[in-house]
């Protein structure tokens, strides 16, 4: 009973923060822009968040986080609009939606597909939020007992999981994480104040800033790649209004359980480092295919094939915040940016956050709910606006993105140095894409690197330089053991792959 009343008190407090006019407004701005960039293929959530990042300097930290988070889950809604109507997923996590969504659109059922997308997303998101509210306090209770060795072990596990699970080559992922860490070394040493990797350049003493790096690797490089690698897309033109969106009774019933299953799968994969919404949506689709009574229908415009992945990716979008907010360990590049935003505002993410910045914590969670309601409103009655948006020509849009990229940073930072960093990391980002190196892993390493080093050195200092401390402490030993098994497993499957060829 105590737990329940506490939860309700937290909900009330969170709502009082999230419903403040300024926070409400930024929540709206966030989800609106999120849907906007989600609809437009070629700009992802990371690009949009990096563009908006400088603006959050002027905001109260809660408002800033609410807006950035809104962009993040808003893109999942917007991404599926493009996936259904033009068969081009606006975001990777909506790629699965295109498999059944586009055939439905060709059958003239685009409206229904969009409606189910919005409602499944909403239900999935809500379940994710609910789990976050229930589990975060429990995790925080445990996490308060963690020492530096455990934190280091958790980060190792997070990074190993991110590099072995997330699809592309484990070696490439690992290399990018380490490269990110190496870039993070630049600047003054946290303990001794020694200059590291500054090569005598004064401007490098403060280290390389998160924002210019993100803007380079995700903003500038993304624009360059999409302009230099352009392919034409075809639209399925059809009138979409509220009436055409209403599903038949049978379609509604068929989408109900897939939605719930998808939400469950998504919630689980969202919390794991390295998996996130994209893998969650693929998993949910796979499960539907296995459990379907007529599996041959999937892939040819089955409503279940939309409901499950959409519920999954939105649930995962929300539960991804659980490790980020309770442990301070981001599971993906976007979550790493959220952590970056908190640090810039002087908030240390981690188990103490819930106690020291309860307004940020509960305000953000409740804003997710408001944001999801706003998204439902934006996506059902206002769908026509987004459909028209797909016609905005990219050749007008990308110069505008470039201007926002340069101007935002120049005005906020007031110096040319940051622009050079954007330029340099833009070039590096383009080469990463060309060589098939995952840029998201780079960012994860860049943000986690300094935290890892801090905990690594602290744990060793406490143990008097004894490396065995990481395996003598039971919890840290178990976590490192799991990480080790993951490496072995991916090594074996990689080897098998090579031998087969």
């Amino acid at each position: 009973m105590d737990f329940l009343s506490e939860t309700f008190a937290n909900i009330g407090f969170g709502l009082s923060v999230a419903l403040q006019p300024a926070n409400l407004w930024y929540c709206f701005v966030g989800v609106f822009l999120g849907t906007f960039v989600g609809v437009l293929p070629g700009i992802g959530a990371l690009t949009a968040i990096s563009l908006l990042f400088p603006l959050t300097f002027y905001m109260d930290p809660t408002a800033g986080l609410i807006m950035l988070a809104g962009v993040w889950y808003g893109t999942a809604y917007g991404g599926s609009i493009a996936a259904i109507l033009i068969n081009v997923p606006g975001t990777p996590s909506s790629a699965v939606t295109a498999i059944d969504g586009y055939p439905l659109a060709k059958k003239g059922r685009a409206g229904v597909a969009l409606f189910i997308t919005a409602t499944s997303s909403f239900i999935g998101g809500s379940i994710g939020i609910l789990l976050m509210m229930l589990f975060s306090p429990i995790i925080v209770d445990y996490a308060l007992k963690f020492g530096s060795a455990e934190y280091f072990a958790l980060m190792v596990l997070g990074l190993v999981a991110a590099s072995t699970i997330s699809g592309s080559s484990a070696a490439k992922n690992m290399a990018m994480i380490l490269f990110g860490m190496a870039v993070g070394f630049v600047g003054l040493d946290i303990d001794t104040g020694d200059e590291r990797f500054t090569f005598g350049i004064f401007a490098l003493q403060d280290g390389i800033g998160l924002i210019p790096v993100v803007m380079g690797v995700f903003g500038l490089a993304e624009v360059i790649i999409s302009v230099s690698n352009a392919g034409a897309t075809k639209r399925e033109d059809q009138a979409i209004n509220l009436k055409s969106m209403w599903p038949k009774r049978d379609e509604f019933v068929r989408s109900l359980f897939p939605t719930l299953r998808g939400a469950g799968i998504g919630s689980f994969f969202g919390t794991l480092p390295g998996t996130g919404p994209t893998i969650a949506s693929f998993m949910a689709y796979g499960v539907e295919k296995r459990f379907a009574k007529e599996p041959e229908r999937l892939g040819h415009g089955a409503i279940e094939g939309i409901a499950a992945p959409e519920a999954a990716n939105n649930a995962a979008d929300q539960t991804a915040f659980i490790p980020t907010m309770t442990l301070g360990i981001p599971g993906s590049a976007t979550m790493a940016l959220m952590i970056g935003a908190m640090i810039l505002h002087g908030i240390t993410p981690g188990p103490s956050l819930m106690a020291s910045h309860a307004d940020v914590f509960w305000g953000l969670i409740m804003s997710f709910w408001i944001g999801n309601v706003l998204l439902l409103v934006l996506n059902v009655p206002l769908i026509g606006i987004w459909v028209r948006l797909l016609q905005v020509p990219y050749n007008m849009l990308f110069p505008a993105i470039l201007v926002l990229l340069c101007v935002g940073l120049y005005i906020v930072d007031g110096s040319i140095v940051a622009l050079w960093v954007v330029f340099a990391f833009g070039v590096i980002g383009v080469f990463m894409r060309v060589a098939g190196l995952p840029a998201a892993s780079f960012l994860l390493g860049f943000v986690l690197g300094p935290m890892m080093e801090e905990n690594f050195r602290r744990a060793l200092t406490i143990s008097g330089g004894d490396y065995l401390t990481f395996v003598e402490r039971p919890l840290s030993a178990v976590i490192l053991g799991i990480a080790f098994c993951l490496i072995l497993f991916s090594g074996f499957s990689g080897l098998r792959h090579v031998v087969k060829l």
Partner: protein, 151 residues
Amino acid sequence: MRWIAGIDVLTGLVIAGFGIGVSTYAYAKFPTSGFDDLGPGLFPLLVGILLTCSGIVIGVQGALKNAEALHLTWSRAFIILFGILSFIGVVSWFGLVPAIGILVVISSLASAEYIGFVKSCALAVFLCLFVYLIFSLGLGQHVEYFTWLGA
């Protein structure tokens, strides 16, 4: 199995080389006595060594299996980068408005379907207004729209 030096071999070499650079720098600048010195050089040394290893793995895997490199129209990429360089060059000498203008006019040239000089100028004017609305009116920032030689 084809033994052609593909993009992955090159990538592996670059990463391994970078890793060697990082660990050498860390070791040269902060001579660690083995791994029991907990100073500023230890972690970079470890990361550099692991980076070298992963570079070698990527290179070897690439030698065994040739990966496709993403093909780009490089001229377009260079035009955009040149646009950014122009912005950096112009903004501190002449202010934000000329810098936005030159960035938009140059980078528009990169598009597969060029919008034309007049339209790109119009877009630049629109974006200047947009920036004024957001940063000056909205956020109350002091912005140098025009200046002469950085004065």
